[in-house]
Amino acid sequence: MDYQKLYPQIQEFVFQTKANRQQWQITYQNCSDALCNYSDKVTELIQRIDQIPVNQQKNLRCALPIQEQLDQSIILPKLDTMPTVLAADGSQILPDRHAPVYYGLINVGGFVFPGNPQAFPQTVQIPELIYGEQLENFSEARLALQRDIHEREMLLNMGRTIQMPCVGLVDGPLEIWIGGSHSGGDQGDYQRSLNTYFHLLGDLYQQKIGLAGYIDRPESNYLVRLLEIAVATPEELQNLQRFHPFSGVSDVDILGALLKPTQRSALFSLYSQPNIQYPTHSQIGFFYINVGSENHPWLGRVEVPAWVAQEEQWLNLVHTMIVHQCQIMGKIAYPFALHRAHELAVVSNEEKDQITRWILTEMQRSGLPISSYSHKQELKNLPSRREWKNPLGGKM
């Protein structure tokens, strides 16, 4: 790295950031004022969204108020019993055409944190090797989609044997969505996966298993976008896709000052075209929650399906469960059960190498020809100067 060439760019980067910060303060103030002005105009805002021209609705993603005021802070409910938490997280090995063998792997880790104080936590791991025809038209997004489906399947399977009430928890949004356009085979695959997902959501709903997706340090601006719509003139609504007066301000920026530790924000529905396709009972809603401390607020976004959002009891369970799970981790507030599921799911480089060697050994045993790394990868694998050991000993 030529640090001398890089250093002026770092200085420029910091200078620009500082300059933008001053503009951001003004935008932030305007956005906060809008929140103040429109906080109790829930019905008016819902009507306003209905007025948005259809061609402007296509890519619109914003918060849709349900009932509570936009700036409402809801305190932590007091519950007699805690729900059992089921957490699932997945990781994957991406197929590598430079490796000696072409395969992928999805490993899903599941963690059960019982609500019963006498019971012990349980763990589950399900690895799935992906090879052959499964890798036709492979894309990273498809593998990620498969992983997400497996995570939800694991929640369902774990939940079937657990005493109620229990809440399934995944890392990230509940809305399964792949960026970009889907065409031909991709579109078909995507639709099939979506249908599988809808079935899973229906099963979770039928089995009375709560569901929540936790997004740490969210960068979303759904509420801010709603406020942009609120302040837009009828002419600006006609060209909403280009109307971003509060650009650079996120929901966390404006709610961070409002929510005290353990409090949640108002519940919103997610207005997006994909969400409209979801079964009514599973349409996605969300709220923000402050899992930080008095001096260090830390907001997460929690997504829940409609069957959780519409029942106060479910909502209280999810609210309490998230706070409790985050409190277990102390200052690095993040749901403990999700972290454990991640620990179980993650595939280290050493494990990946071990799996590759294992496959190669089995292939060799079966008399199959063995490939090697591509020349490009082999050259990259050569030890760097620092790692190289002098075979004759002594210092280099």
Binding site: M329, G330, R340
Partner: protein, 202 residues
Amino acid sequence: MNQIQIGRLLSATTRQLVVGCQVSQIDLPAIGSLVRINPQVDYAIYGLVYDLYIADDGLVRQLATVGEMDEKVIADHRLNRSVPIEIRVLSVGYKMAGQIYHLLPPKPPLGLEILWLCSDEEIVEFTNSGRYGYLRHILREQDVAVEEVLAAHIKLADNAHRQKGEADWSHKAVQEVIVLLRDDYAALTRVLQSLADSQIFS
């Protein structure tokens, strides 16, 4: 005979063994315990536990900073997380074809062999063989709390011998230690102090 399995071998030299076991293991051997590995049907390696190491990781360190901890979090760590306890063992002898030798084993055991805790009968059998020759393997170690391991071992072995009606075994063992350390007054003083602290002879 009820055999108590401690863990499985992680690494070994002819002088030392490192064994891993789950944190949840309730039958953890105490320092100074006599343990055994059976690499073959007619071949057993004996060792003395001289250290136990409980590894940490980032999550444990983070959880330790939290004031009140949920019992389930502790249970999960001990039952489910793959963070083993490492038991370090000094090789002190072996048994081959029914004969016990207080010599280093001719070859170390291989990975994942099971480590067993020796019963009182085995302790008596091993310590009564020969003339306390195994004690020199402990005394020559540089990086081991020799006096503590020795005192703990003599106390445990004394208890086993007393069960068999041999009340003077520990006296003879200490006499042998004095002979072995006759040219190292400082070490001998430390060992005798540890033996006094262990209250074997009180």
